[in-house]
């Protein structure tokens, strides 16, 4: 106890930055008591664009032979949350012989906490962009050997007549789109959308993924020093009052889903205009 009182005395003399370095946990806890975060945001305020976190997602498609179990389906490299989003049968070219395999590459340009949220968002955005772009699934046709070749504009009809397998450039249809939110649990506080500094100090986090119809895609809490009480996850809602408590993870995720959907739609429609 002498140590803590010593710290508090020191803090009044020390500069803020020095205190932040030397006693990071106490620094954040002092802020938590006042219900604010060090950058001035509210505890449960969700940053609509992650401040310093940038990710780049790219989608490549390649032809492959489908697996024996699912001859009518294509394949997506990264499965977990995205499998509900896209109907894999759309990716089929020739049943039993060829289908599209989608590779999703995500590059992190600048990391400041909550990597999974940003990665999922950028993957979703990349797939949505595929939806509106005109150059989508390029036209291919089946060679006589049974191999797939890309029909380019040049070799028009000079060689043997090949039947293009898919005539027009299709767009991917998205079903329910998943959005996620990572929260940190520290004692009785819930911090939404943590920065990497907060993540490294307070180690208990959980991720909730909801899709656009608010179904639960995934609830992931991989251990960690703290326990998650059911009340932290979702407070029982009072049927009389329409307004839900803001203080629980699922509600926060719901708000986040609405915000992200709006932003995503705006961005996509902006891109479509170009």
């Amino acid at each position: 106890m002498a140590a803590t009182s010593g710290v508090h005395d020191l803090s009044s003399e020390m500069e803020v930055d020095a205190f932040r370095r030397l006693f990071p946990l106490r620094f954040h806890e002092r802020h938590l008591l006042e219900s604010i975060r060090p950058d001035g945001g509210l505890l449960e305020k969700l940053e609509t664009q992650p401040l310093c976190l940038t990710m780049l997602a790219a989608i490549k498609m390649e032809v492959m032979t489908p697996t024996v179990e699912a001859p009518e389906e294509g394949c997506i490299g990264l499965n977990k949350c995205l499998s509900g989003m896209i109907d894999l049968k759309e990716l089929c070219l020739v049943g039993g012989k060829a289908a599209w395999m989608v590779y999703l590459d995500i590059y992190c340009l600048d990391a400041d906490g909550a990597l999974f949220d940003a990665a999922l968002l950028s993957a979703v955005a990349a797939f949505s962009h595929c939806k509106f772009a005109t150059v989508q699934i390029p036209v291919v046709s089946l060679n006589d050997d049974g191999r797939i070749v890309l029909v380019s504009e040049d070799n028009g009809g000079a060689k043997k007549e090949k039947e293009p397998v898919n005539k027009d450039k299709r767009k991917l249809k998205l079903n329910s789109v998943p959005f996620s939110l990572t929260c940190i649990l520290h004692k009785d506080y819930i911090l939404a959308d943590p920065t990497s500094e907060e993540e490294s100090i307070m180690e208990t986090y959980l991720t909730v993924v909801l899709d656009s119809s608010f179904q639960l895609v995934s609830f992931n809490k991989p251990g960690g020093p703290g326990l998650a009480n059911t009340s932290a996850i979702q407070k029982p809602t009072d049927l009389v009052t329409a307004e839900l408590d803001s203080g629980d993870c699922v509600t926060l995720t719901r708000q986040r889903v609405k915000e992200l959907q709006k932003i995503l739609n705006e961005t996509i429609s902006d891109m479509e205009v170009d």
Partner: protein, 237 residues
């Protein structure tokens, strides 16, 4: 519909559990745990001096190595390692031996569903065998949600593959505590799974998930009593 389970089990009925300690003579601690046909072997070596590079030296470090039954070590094994490590970080008293590393090696002997809960139990028992100080035991259970909305506890491999959604939960087992702080009733670990590619596997509502949690929690108490009895009877020797 899905009311018929193999072996005539009820929806809330768990498979027979067996847990034995000190199965390996050279490890500091070891245990073998089986849930029905699923069997996992765990060995503990430690605490050893020094921590790894990026770990906090003020606390003990836990290292988990997951060995699958066959095949090379790939991404699913790394994921299991991460989950198990964080779960064990929750239950161990990390401040007792700072700047040390405890290694836990988990070997999957047979996987017939509910692999992660079995591994968690084996790791806890091995830690007890090694004498590592723990806050409480972790008791873990997996449940799956069928198409008809029924919740089945402790599914085997076939049931896991057939079902709509699948949750693995770990809870702290009941604690007789000197402090009357209030019962410890949180969740240590929770993982939801979509099993196969191409199928939409998720919960219809968040409430389904919470129902799974409640049913799992209800099944925890008898489960933790069984585990404690098995572990106690051996230490009496």
């Amino acid at each position: 519909m899905d009311l018929e389970r193999e072996g005539g089990r009820g929806a809330n009925q768990l498979r027979p559990i067996d847990c034995s300690r000190n199965v390996l003579s050279r490890a500091h601690g070891s245990a073998s745990c089986s849930h029905g046909e699923t069997r996992v072997l765990a060995a503990v070596y430690g605490p050893k001096a020094g921590t790894k590079k990026n770990e906090n030296p003020e606390k003990a470090c836990i290292e988990v190595i997951w060995k699958p039954k066959s095949g090379q070590i790939g991404k699913p094994e790394k994921e299991f390692e991460m989950i198990l490590k964080r779960t064990l970080q929750n239950i161990c008293l990390l401040n007792v031996h700072p700047n040390t590393t405890t290694s836990i090696i988990v070997q999957v002997v047979h996987d017939d569903g509910s692999l992660l809960p079995c591994a968690i139990h084996a790791a806890c028992a091995a830690l007890i065998d090694a004498g590592i100080p723990l806050k409480y035991l972790a008791v873990s259970i997996s449940c799956c949600l069928t198409e008809s909305g029924k919740i089945l506890l402790d599914p085997n491999k076939l049931e896991e593959q057939k079902t709509k959604a699948f949750v693995c939960l770990a809870f702290p087992s009941s604690v007789h505590s000197v402090l009357t702080e209030g019962s410890i009733n949180g969740i240590i670990t929770s993982l939801t799974h979509g099993v196969m590619a191409g199928l939409c596997l998720f919960f219809n509502t968040v409430d389904d998930y919470f129902q799974c949690v409640e049913q799992g929690r209800a099944a925890i108490t008898p489960l933790s009593n069984i585990l404690k009895k098995k572990l106690q009877s051996q230490s009496a020797e």
